[in-house]
């Protein structure tokens, strides 16, 4: 069992910090405080935090904030960032309008 799966581990109380208002996920405007708080509410994986707060689910798909979120969560959990599994990679890798995503081409020949 690694430090992450040991859920009986006490990570302490959520203590507000002066920079909690700082935006971390630029697209969905998720703050550092929201992410830190979520960890103390029991969300210990990037996937959970992402689903709950939407950080990394905006237009850029976490391109800018993924590493930052990981760092914040790891610090809160007092573990190495390398222990945290990154979010699942899904298609589409870039924002695609639904009408385009649904439109299969008939003639592909390049």
């Amino acid at each position: 069992m690694n430090e992450l799966s040991n859920r009986s581990r006490d990570i302490g109380e959520f203590i507000p910090q002066p920079d909690d208002d700082m935006i971390v996920c630029r697209c969905e405007e998720v703050t550092k405080g929201e992410i830190r708080k979520a960890v103390h509410e029991g969300l210990w994986t990037i996937a959970e935090i992402r689903r709950y707060l939407r950080c990394g689910m905006g237009l850029c798909q976490g391109q800018t904030c993924a590493k930052l979120v990981k760092g914040i969560v790891a610090r809160e959990l007092k573990v190495s960032p390398a222990l945290l599994e990154p979010a699942t990679s899904r298609s589409p890798m870039r924002p695609v309008e639904m009408h385009v995503f649904a439109k299969e081409t008939e003639d592909t020949d390049l």
């Binding site: 935006i23 630029r26 697209c27 405007e29 905006g58 237009l59 850029c60 391109q63 800018t64 870039r94 924002p95």
Partner: protein
């Protein structure tokens, strides 16, 4: 045009022989080079703010300039969320500041 590098020590005159086009930024007439990213033309015209965010109404501008961060999106020809750093400028384009996902300021939405 202000903001342009007239002559570069290594690259020379970078925009030589490019066609000048007219476009509109929030109703104001501006000039830029055909085919350059909208964001480059706006920067050369001194525009810093591309949009105001949905939740906190905070200003955003060019951040990555290569289509990854999506911070520079604006309403272009009526379509919101257009990445201005990736979209080539064309004659007569209508480029507007994006408020949330609209081109109307928040108090008019």
């Amino acid at each position: 045009m202000a903001g342009r590098i007239a002559q570069h020590p290594i690259l020379g005159c970078q925009n030589e022989n490019k066609k000048i086009v007219t476009f509109h930024y929030d109703g104001k007439e501006m000039k830029g080079f055909e085919g350059e990213p909208i964001a480059a033309a706006l920067k050369a015209n001194g525009v810093m703010v591309h949009r105001y965010t949905l939740k906190q109404h905070k200003p955003r501008g060019i951040f990555c300039a290569i289509g990854r961060c999506t911070d520079c999106v604006m309403v272009v020809d009526g379509e919101p969320n257009v990445r201005t750093c990736m979209t080539p400028l064309a004659e007569g384009m209508d480029v507007r500041t994006q408020y949330g996902v609209s081109d109307k300021p928040f108090d008019q939405q």
